[in-house]
Amino acid sequence: MSNIPEELVYTESHEWVRKESDGSITVGVTDHAQSMLGDLVFVDLPEEELEVSRDEECCVLESVKAAADVYAPVSGVIVEVNHELDSTPEVINKEPYDAGWLFRMIPSDEKEFEDLLDAEAYQECVKAEAH
């Protein structure tokens, strides 16, 4: 069973979102997503200062098996990307919620948070996918 931390919020496309105290958010992919992809070998990170709309493709994960798009969970501006992943993409497999974070953004519309899933709702979404 995959790990779904209670304190985070999620999207149906398997991104997790952590609200930081400075108003920014950190985004990554869930344990379930990394396990479905298998060994990650390359991350095509977005540019800093890139403006993105909700559900826009902004990052690509490449595993030995396949490529997967990562979507912006909310609209906003990307302010920092995790360049450690350039040389060590496998960190996403090992620590998807910690060292494996992808990017930080400043959201432009707080209301969009209402559509994100809590841990329980995301768990249901993963379960539904398995059937």
Binding site: G38, D39, F42, V64, K65
Partner: protein
């Protein structure tokens, strides 16, 4: 309908992630595909390949029949146990399947064919068999294990039944020994030394456990795919099918055009294509930029599209992306591949990329229409 191999429960117990592969429930990996890949390059790994199709042909006319059915010449199999890799072609030299043929004795041969092509292969072989005195028997009573890696032979020998140990260790490449229902062959699909072992289902779990006990690690289909790509070996259905010929698929070496008197299915079409000379080649691609090459991406030289990638992955040995592409190359090795919205720099290389754990690829300096 999904099939399970006789070792399904062993895979689950070993922590396998199972996928449906052409109707067979098989392990894709047991944790990490990359670790399994490196295990085979440096030590030894086992693959359960029991989904593959095994067909025996028996009768006085068997050799004659295979000489007509297959693009390579079974007359090369001079002694019992010898093996030959080849393809079965249609009249237009399109590849129906690739396979290994083993000589059991003067009148008995064994074919190991792909799983995904089983039905059409059997229909095709039976059609060609009409009026011949050859009996076809399909084996569904055997387990097929590939044990590959620099330590594979030495370790496997410790797990084999005693009466097979010495003869297995004495095998030269592309030969096999058969004793009762067991067959040990020094063949494989990874670019490493090793064995492929056929054995009765009833003895499979015990042999599997014995292989694990001597330190051989189970490996899944994922590692099998990256290993065969590094080794420059084609996967039927991805790199070749009935729309392409051996000349276009980097397996011209599996076709015997000599002696000229031997007639085989597809011969006339192959000769015509060879004479005409202008056809695409299957070459290797090494990505010089960061990223991963995938099937379907287009390849360019000097702004002109020259072909398409048919298999691509990340090479755990070379730590960069590699691919097979079918291209009409024009000159040197430099090319570009369109990956999403970017043009990435790649080099055309002569296959394979890796043999016996070492990088061996050569850059293509001059690529002509002919080789």
């Amino acid at each position: 309908m999904t099939n399970k191999t006789a070792l399904y429960d062993q895979h689950v117990a070993a922590g396998a992630k199972i996928v449906d592969f052409h109707g067979w429930l098989l392990p894709i990996h047991y944790g990490s595909q990359i670790e399994e890949h490196l295990q085979v390059r440096t030590q030894a790994g086992i693959f359960d390949v029991s989904h593959m199709t095994i067909v025996d042909l028996a009768g006085k006319d068997s050799e004659n029949f295979l000489s007509y059915l297959l693009a390579n010449d079974v007359a090369k199999l001079k002694t019992p146990g010898k093996a030959l890799y080849t393809a079965m072609l249609n009249e237009t030299a399109g590849i129906i399947d690739d396979l290994i043929v083993y000589k059991i004795n003067a009148t008995n041969f064994r074919l190991v064919l792909n799983a995904a092509t089983r039905e059409k292969d059997l229909i095709w072989i039976r059609q060609q068999l009409k009026g011949r005195e050859v009996k076809l028997t399909e084996h569904q009573d055997l387990v097929n294990l590939a044990i590959q890696g620099p330590k594979a032979r030495e370790k496997t020998a410790q797990a084999l039944p005693e009466n097979l140990r010495e003869s297995a260790l004495n095998l030269k490449p592309f030969t096999s020994v058969i004793q009762g229902d067991w067959q040990v062959s020094r063949t494989g699909y990874t670019g490493e030394d090793g064995f492929e072992v056929l054995l009765p289902k009833a003895e499979a779990a015990q042999f599997w456990q014995a292989l694990l006990a001597v330190g051989i690690k189970p490996c899944g289909l994922g590692a099998r795919d990256t290993l065969r790509l590094e080794a420059g070996l084609n996967l039927y259905g991805s790199d070749m099918d009935e729309t392409v010929t051996p000349l276009e698929s980097n397996i011209t070496w599996t076709v015997a055009l000599e002696p000229k008197a031997r007639n085989f299915i597809g011969r006339a079409a192959l000769e015509a294509q060879q004479q005409q000379g202008h056809y695409p080649h299957l070459l290797g691609l090494l990505l010089q930029d960061k990223g991963v090459l995938r099937a379907g991406q287009k390849v360019f030289q000097r702004g002109q599209e020259i072909g398409v990638i048919i298999s691509g992955t990340f090479s755990p040995t070379l730590k960069q992306s590699i691919a097979f592409a079918r291209v009409l190359a024009q000159g040197d090795e430099d090319c570009q591949v369109q990956v999403r919205d970017k043009m990435l720099t790649a080099s055309l290389v002569k296959l394979p990329f890796v043999r016996n754990g070492q990088a061996v690829f050569k850059l293509i300096k001059e690529v002509e229409g002919n080789e």
